[in-house]
């Protein structure tokens, strides 16, 4: 590289100084809020982050409820695959007309089917991105917490999915973080306790879980926070002053994504398509304001560095398989 650097400077191809381009650490964190069907918005956000090359630099994702499900989806699938799940599988699996009142809002069986279709083994193979989901223990005294002013996050339990030994446990933890109160049954995890949706902040849940990233990832200096309520409906907003060591980039929906019936339990195709597009467009605005522009998938592909093919296939983010010669040869 040294020699090419000489050529590089002699060719006078020097960057003008732009503060937003200065490299301190390029590790990003991503916080995905909960909000049921409104989670389609996060797919649009992820799509935009991928086009701008940010998604490839995200080394930790923390999510609650649908944000937790999306975190696993984004870590294990390509953008196109994640979009496909939301556009085709989610409407089919989560809006099942059945005799049960519970199932008619959010089908927990359908949710199970969606989760089992995600190649979660990737989380065990890869150390990054580190995926954390949040749930709350389903305790008898939760009703008391509702009438007292308990701090958000005080009862939240975090699960780092990459650390789990069995895929079945990862599946349960995903089901637990998304076990919407009342309409979904709580899920028993390996400690023998029952857990429910981590987004219920009235019982000490944490719907926008930034802490797992800040506390356990000192190399991350920029965190992107995705909310699923517009600024009018937003009940709790992460404050920059509370996290001085990191730069926070907020993505707040520019439109009202709807309340319980029209937003949270709305899994219709039309709604999902609309939210994906909105998430995408809102994120583009934020990234442009940061002085960023889209980059080619070529930089993230595994093609040749100097010559050869005259076209690039998008193999962005692909990792060498665990049993490859490379993986073994370099594990020192």
């Amino acid at each position: 590289m040294k020699k090419s650097k000489v050529v590089f400077f002699s060719a006078c191809i020097l960057f003008l100084i732009f503060p937003e381009l200065l490299a301190i650490s390029q590790e990003y964190g991503l916080v995905l809020s909960g909000g049921g069907g409104k989670g389609a918005y996060e797919v649009g956000v992820w799509k935009a982050l991928s086009e701008y090359g940010i998604a490839h630099k995200i080394t930790a994702i923390s999510g609650t409820s649908v944000g937790g499900l999306n975190a696993a989806l984004f870590a294990c699938m390509s953008v196109e695959e994640a979009e496909e799940v939301w556009k085709n599988t989610v409407p089919k699996q989560l809006t099942i007309p059945s005799g049960s009142i519970r199932e008619s809002f959010i089908s927990q069986q359908g949710l199970q089917k969606i989760i089992s279709s995600v190649p979660l083994k990737k989380l065990q193979i890869n150390a990054w991105p580190q995926v954390t989901v949040t749930a709350v223990p389903n305790e008898f005294f939760n009703f008391l917490k509702r009438i007292t002013s308990i701090a958000p996050g005080s009862s939240a339990k975090r699960f780092v999915l990459n650390n789990e030994k069995y895929v079945s446990e990862i599946q349960k933890e995903l089901l637990a973080t998304a076990a919407f109160p009342v309409v979904c049954a709580p899920v028993v995890l390996k400690d023998g306790k029952k857990y429910s949706d981590g987004g219920d902040e009235k019982v000490g849940g944490d719907n926008t879980p930034i802490d797992p990233i800040v506390l356990h990832n000192p190399d991350i200096h920029t965190i992107i926070i995705v909310y699923l309520n517009d600024s009018q409906r937003l009940t709790r907003r992460i404050r920059q002053i509370d996290y001085p060591s990191v730069k926070l980039i907020e993505i707040i929906p520019s439109i009202d994504l709807g309340s319980l019936l029209e937003g949270t339990v709305n899994f219709t195709s039309a709604r999902i398509n609309l939210l994906i597009q909105r998430g995408y467009e809102d994120t583009l605005i934020v990234l442009k304001n940061e002085g960023l522009y889209p980059v080619s998938s070529y930089w993230f592909s595994s093609g040749s560095v100097s010559s050869g093919t005259s076209s690039s296939q998008n193999t962005a983010g692909t990792m060498p398989p665990a049993d490859s010669e490379w993986y073994n040869a370099t594990s020192w």
Binding site: M1, S4, V7, A11, Q26, N126, V305, S306, S310, W326
Partner: protein, 202 residues
């Protein structure tokens, strides 16, 4: 008196600068590979500026391994890909992994986030401007080695306005740079031709 001293010191500074610049220039000229020096007479032969994008079609490379490729199609867009000789940077990645207490295969999983630090660069990459001109160090692994190459993707539209920068031999098999490549960018300054660099069509 003070004014005289000031003038004298300025004069000495200018002289010293001229001396150092001339030394540096001659050192640079001396460091040029012999293959490039022997190619110099080419410039005196009949070389003509490219007149169409088709003239640049193909992969062109210098003896040093620097080169460009056109058309380079990515995400449905056409670019001129300008690349510098790739280097074996395995040691850089090994050193970074050791310094951070992680194994290389784990570091590889977050290579895009760590690359600017691994290369001790001052800028984040990949980086693009509003016209879609892009720069990064392209990183690949082959046979347990990690290679890097600085590269630019220059959109076809910008290239079309700079055809005169590429001067071709009569048989269209050799190409030299001439003058300035105007990037029209707010992030990338114009590119000045490298004297003596001869690209051969592969």
């Amino acid at each position: 008196m003070r004014a005289h001293i000031f003038c004298a010191s300025c004069y000495i500074t200018v002289l010293l600068n001229i001396f150092f610049i001339s030394c540096k220039t001659s050192a640079l000229a001396d460091s040029k590979p012999s293959s490039e020096l022997s190619e110099k007479p080419l410039a005196e032969k009949a070389f003509l500026p490219a007149t169409s994008l088709d003239d640049l079609d193909g992969i062109w490379e210098t003896a040093d391994g620097n080169g460009f490729e056109y058309p380079f199609i990515c995400d449905g867009r056409k670019y001129l890909r300008y690349y510098f000789r790739r280097t074996d940077d395995t040691w850089r990645w090994q050193r970074f992994a050791a310094n951070h207490g992680i194994i290389l295969s784990s570091l590889w999983q977050k290579r895009f986030a760590c690359a600017p630090e691994v290369y001790e660069g001052r800028f984040m990459f990949p980086v693009a401007d509003e016209q879609d001109m892009q720069y990064a160090i392209k990183i690949v692994q082959e046979n347990s080695h990690i290679y890097g190459s600085e590269q630019y993707l220059i959109p076809e539209r910008i290239l079309a306005g700079n055809l005169a920068f590429f001067v071709l031999s009569e048989d269209r098999k050799k190409c030299i740079e001439n003058g300035t490549f105007h990037t029209m960018s707010t992030k990338f300054p114009d590119i000045i031709a490298v004297d003596g660099a001869v690209y051969e069509k592969k």
